[in-house]
Symmetry: C2
Subunit: 387 residues, 2 copies
């Protein structure tokens, strides 16, 4: 019998048992009362998770589709935007905007570092004509495991009358994002990350300012038009096209579990497993890519020791221990591996992963004292229990 799977990807993430089974319920019509109840509950609970009073629109697509929608709905061809890039997903957001003939100014930061707010502030100050219509940022840069704080950027954007569009695909539900308080105009997340549901849904909060901007937008769109979505949303929480109903069944169940746990506990759980993983990995003699203060609470990037091949580690973890991790992208490819720890992640998952990693690294010639990483992680859990 194969050992049970430990899926430690930055998404898709494991779905809680009850929620998973809820997805197998019989299908219903998408224009009836049953669907209205489903959509109302999901939408209202999403507002709780997004910490917003804004509309949260339900799109049937992946997170990338929602990012594209955020551009296509609020901007026009030739508009200038400032794109804050701290990794592969920041670059992707910029690329999507470029495909729409947006005049994208990329402000690049080192991979593994967060956004330098002073540089953003200086750039906006220099834009005296207020040509910059929007700022694009990645809340949790999945490729490096860095958190960029939206609050100071939201404040600068508001002062500049620019919209703040936030890729929160791998953060919402795992890392706090106070949509309203931090003045994020569009926040995009997807179902298969910290929201622990199957892939296929994209959840997008849209501020009144962003909705107003849709009036001026000349970019082509139909399927994910915010205006069409908003119109249907006003009519019994409907969607313009048939939504991913079975995924909504799962998400409804997950959101109930999230409300039961409470956002505060949820964020603390993510912090705890992150701390344990980081201490464990360090105790093994590995080096973390990202400094403690800006480290993601949903994904951790770890430098590969010299002479250890990523492919070999990944394959052994998977084949010998059924533990799934992933590599990195772009300039970090082959130099870093990443462990996702978001959504339905437990202390046991962290321990299984550390244990497997200790053994695999030894097999690959990087000497680790067995149990050293485990003990370090355990200490974090133990300390937490005694609080």
């Amino acid at each position: 019998m194969k050992e049970k799977r430990t899926l430690m990807l930055p998404g898709p993430t494991p779905i809680p048992e009850e929620a998973r089974l809820a997805g197998a319920q019989k299908i219903i019509g998408h224009r009836g009362v049953d669907c209205e109840e489903l959509m109302e509950e999901v939408t209202e609970n999403l507002k709780y998770v997004f910490q917003t009073e804004n509309d949260v629109l339900v799109l049937t697509c992946s997170g990338t589709g929602g990012l594209e929608a955020s551009i296509a709905n609020t901007l026009s061809a030739g508009d200038k935007v400032l794109s804050l890039c701290t990794g592969a997903f920041g670059e992707r957001y910029a690329t999507i905007a470029e495909r729409y003939d947006i005049d994208v100014e990329r402000m690049n930061f080192a991979w593994g570092e967060d956004i330098d707010v002073d540089r953003v502030k200086a750039r906006l100050a220099a834009d005296q004509e207020q040509e910059i219509k929007a700022i694009l940022m990645t809340h949790n840069e999945t490729s490096t495991g860095v958190i960029n704080h939206p609050a100071p950027i939201g404040e600068l954007a508001a002062q500049h009358n620019a919209l703040l569009l936030v890729d929160a695909v791998s953060s919402i539900g795992g890392i706090e994002l106070k949509t309203d308080k931090w003045q994020a105009d569009v926040v995009v997340t997807s179902s298969q990350k910290a929201l622990m549901s199957p892939p296929g849904l994209c959840l997008v909060s849209v501020s009144p300012q962003a909705l107003a901007a849709t009036q001026d937008s000349d970019l082509p769109k139909f399927y994910w038009s915010f205006q069409r979505a908003k119109e249907r949303y006003e009519r019994c929480y409907q969607t313009p096209s048939t939504p991913a109903l079975a995924t909504l069944y799962v998400l409804r169940e997950v959101l109930r579990e999230i409300r039961e746990e409470g956002l505060e506990n949820l964020f603390q759980r993510h912090q705890l497993v992150t701390r344990a993983l980081r201490r464990g990995v360090e105790a093994m003699g590995l080096e973390l890519l990202v400094a403690e203060e800006i480290a993601s609470k949903t994904v951790t990037a770890i430098k590969l020791p010299t002479d250890v091949e990523y492919e070999a580690v990944e394959q052994r973890l998977r084949e010998q221990y059924n533990v799934y991790i992933t590599g990195s992208k772009g300039k970090l490819k082959g130099k870093v591996f990443r462990i996702g720890h978001l959504g339905n992640v437990s202390r046991s998952d962290i321990l299984s992963t550390i244990s497997a990693l200790e053994m695999v690294l030894n097999q690959e010639g990087f000497e680790v004292k067995l149990g050293s990483g485990l003990a370090a992680a355990q200490k974090v859990f133990h300390k937490e229990e005694r609080r």
Copy 2:
């Protein structure tokens, strides 16, 4: 205990039990071997259903998204297209193209009739400069229940060096569409119709001509770029973004069942239930909207008797018998109701629906001899059994 639900919508449709439960399987990574096996099996079986050697791309969106993708990928702003409109969905296809600044010429046909091929032929003959770059058509017009035959249009399009883009959302898997033989360049369907899966996936076949056209297209797109999809497809059947994995689990199971039944039997089953429903409805004294030769095999539109309100019939069917039907759209709204019979539809479903309808119509003051519709449907089934 509430009577079991009889979902007779033109989509979403009931999902076969085993397939539905398959959707509750644990989630996997979308870049690994498990996903490659899943995608390969699904893709190859889709080619069987589409009757094509073309690539069948898997997009995570509803059918509307796929229709938009067919426009955004193969055309450029200002291109002229001929849009053949026989109902609300034909009009929607034209509207999507218009949003992309396509020069859309709508050729309208009466609602309840099919495309008049001679008119199309004459129009193309008049287009001596071959300005018309593509023809848009709806295979099965869901709003009226009419089948438009793609073969003659495909032939005309090919002669004219124009692409044929086909909305086959409510046909593929229920009504024959010979993609290659009939020269359909792009064929779009979605998971929640005759493919009996949850909504959220759009399946799109793309001919070499259509792929070549993507090179010249200047319309903005990223998420559903056929080129990005094709590139990933060549790498182990991957998709550019995380696909709707749980829906793919269901679709895999459904496609196995479809292969087991065989396309020929599948189409015959749809023809049989259609015939039984039509005979039953006529025997009740109701009038069908569409003539026998062009009648859809997945959805039937029935004229409401004078003085009978659609809302009352719909509500009684739903509340008293748990039978779900739907109204129509646009100019047929309030005059016609529709019964979907596609995918996982059985003789029992037809009988339950006719029986409930007989009783409800009597309650609403339209006199029907109880059992008259049932006997007529039964005769169709009985005759089939004796063949």
